[in-house]
Amino acid sequence: MHYVFEPGFFASGPVRVALAVGTVIAVTSAVVGVFTVTRGQSFAGHSLADIATTGGSGAFLIGVNQFWGYLAFGAGAAAFMEMIGIQRRRGRDVATGVVLGAALGLAALFLYLGTQYSTTTGASFTILFGSIFVLTPSTVPVLIASALVALVTVLALARVLLLSSLSPDIAAARGVPVRAVGAAFLMALAVSVALSAVIIGAVLSTALLIGPAATALRLARSPVRAAITAAAVGVLAIWLGIVLGYDSYYWPPAGRGWPVSFFVVTLIVGGYLVTYLRRGERRADPQTPQENVDAEQACSPA
């Protein structure tokens, strides 16, 4: 046991905070991620992450905790996307890519200016790649509360989201306010991205959103099982990432620990690739042109 958990692990304050906050955020991200991938909005998630980079850098520049920057810019971007009517399966559009490039250029500027005026070392790295062990204590309640709000929102909208991803027309015909529901989801997505950015960095946050969800979709068939599987994968990746990150303080070469975000992302990607080992995955029921026969048989008792 001593070899897995280096001394002081369980007693360490930052570790406990990291585990608690990390778990809540991992679960939220995973569940939101399942709906994101189902609705074909992965690219929106990626865009929000880039915009969050700008937000975090801007927050750093004005001396505010980067979570507020991630959140404000993310929410703003989500509102903008909703206004211009982001269609569902918008792929990697050139337009979006170029506009995001401007956002990243702005992030470069904010980071540069911020480092000129601030004494905090390593701020760029923290914003880009996260720092789960140095979460500001005063932000912890906010982080957990935001995560719960996003999670509850998505769970409350779960059925409606599934119905509208099946067919927006059917949903609209049943009286679902499809546009409003989409907007609410986009906001929950922005919050998720902001939260993931806090713990593994804006640049890597997409992994926590999409990875566990994509893995779960390969393993589970029903929405409930997919959400549970995704949450499990995300939480596992965060826990292992934290353990390894803590242990790595004793590892070469630098004696200051490997980034937790590196472990988390590698574990998530590894987990996803592992699902490909089940080759020759058979489908539940082979297709046979027997539908007519079945219909007839179903007819007879009636």
């Binding site: 991938v37 992965s42 990626h46 990697r92 050139v94 337009a95 890519g97 170029v98 506009v99 490039g101 401007a102 956002a103 990243l104 250029g105 702005l106 992030a107 470069a108 500027l109 980071l111 540069y112 200016l113 480092t115 070392t121 390593g122 701020a123 760029s124 790295f125 880009l128 790649f129 960095g201 640049v203 890597l204 997409t206 992994a207 999409i210 990875g211 994509a214 070469p253 630098a254 200051r256 490997w258 980034p259 975000s261 590196f262 992302v265 590698t266 998530i268 990607v269 996803y272 690739l273």
Partner: protein, 271 residues
């Protein structure tokens, strides 16, 4: 502003802009702009790793860029690989973060690899960049006609015996070379802006391929030159200017095209 170390900067940046303009033209034509998003991530990891090991940064860049290009070529053949490719390239960023964290100047290095660092380019670094640039140009000249054909009219090219997959691979490999020279100058996260922005803008302005390619190069050059001058004066990072100018030129091109075509024919009747 034009002497000494800055001379190196101007030469390097000019070369980079020319190559970016040409490669971007083809990338937009082929619709494979994703490579311009993904390969730089691998380049970031490679540069970080090489820097750590004290190896030539360009070697690291080249190796990882080529690996990334081969990876894209391999993965693009699998049916449902969107997620796999996205995750792999995020992982490249994670690995780069790891390498960078081992260096003593990790914040500074992360910043310069992701957002670019064109000043203080030593003569020792100018030569590899020019070398890559010339290699790219040579490759493009050799491949020009089959590349144009397979990019613009893939079915015709296939009928004429131009092997599509080999063209794809060749294009990706040249893209890897172009990446290796562009990333040190504008950064991994902004390469897309320099390569695709001007090219897409040029595409909106003209349909003629020769003119579009020339315009693409011109816009890229203007972007970079304004960027360097502004960066020199203000000390603000070049990446900022490249990102913003890239977007401005792109939107300008789209706006011009929209205005020129008159009122949008958007009164689409319901089918």
């Amino acid at each position: 502003m034009f002497t000494g170390v800055m001379a190196n900067t101007w030469i390097t940046a000019t070369m980079v802009a020319v190559i970016a303009g040409v490669m971007g033209f083809f990338a937009v034509l082929r619709g494979s702009t994703f490579a311009a998003h993904a390969i730089p991530n691998g380049a970031f990891a490679g540069a970080a790793g090489a820097g750590l090991l004290g190896l030539n940064v360009f070697a690291g860049l080249a190796v990882f860029s080529v690996a990334g290009a081969l990876g894209i070529a391999a993965l693009s053949r699998r049916a449902r690989s969107d997620v796999a490719t996205a995750l792999t390239f995020v992982m490249m960023l994670g690995i780069g973060a790891l390498f960078v964290s081992w260096s003593s100047q990790y914040a500074q290095e992360a910043y310069s690899l992701l957002f670019g660092e064109v000043f203080g380019v030593s003569t020792g670094e100018v030569l590899p960049i020019i070398g890559f640039g010339l290699a790219c140009i040579a490759a493009i000249i050799v491949m020009f006609r089959p590349l144009m054909l397979s990019s613009a009219l893939p079915e015709v090219a296939a009928a004429r015996g131009v092997p599509a997959r080999r063209m794809d691979l060749a294009f990706l490999l040249v893209m890897a070379l172009a990446t290796s020279m562009t990333v040190p100058v504008v950064g991994a996260l902004l390469m897309f802006s320099l390569m695709i922005g001007p090219a897409a803008a040029a595409r909106s302005l003209t349909a003629r391929p020769g003119l579009a390619m020339a315009l693409s190069v011109v816009i890229a050059l203007v972007t970079v030159w304004i960027g360097i001058a502004a960066s020199y004066q203000s000390n603000w990072p070049l990446g900022f200017f490249v990102g913003v100018l890239g977007a401005l030129f792109y939107l300008g091109g789209k706006g011009y095209a929209a205005v020129r075509s008159g009122a949008p024919a958007g009164q689409r009747a319901r089918a």
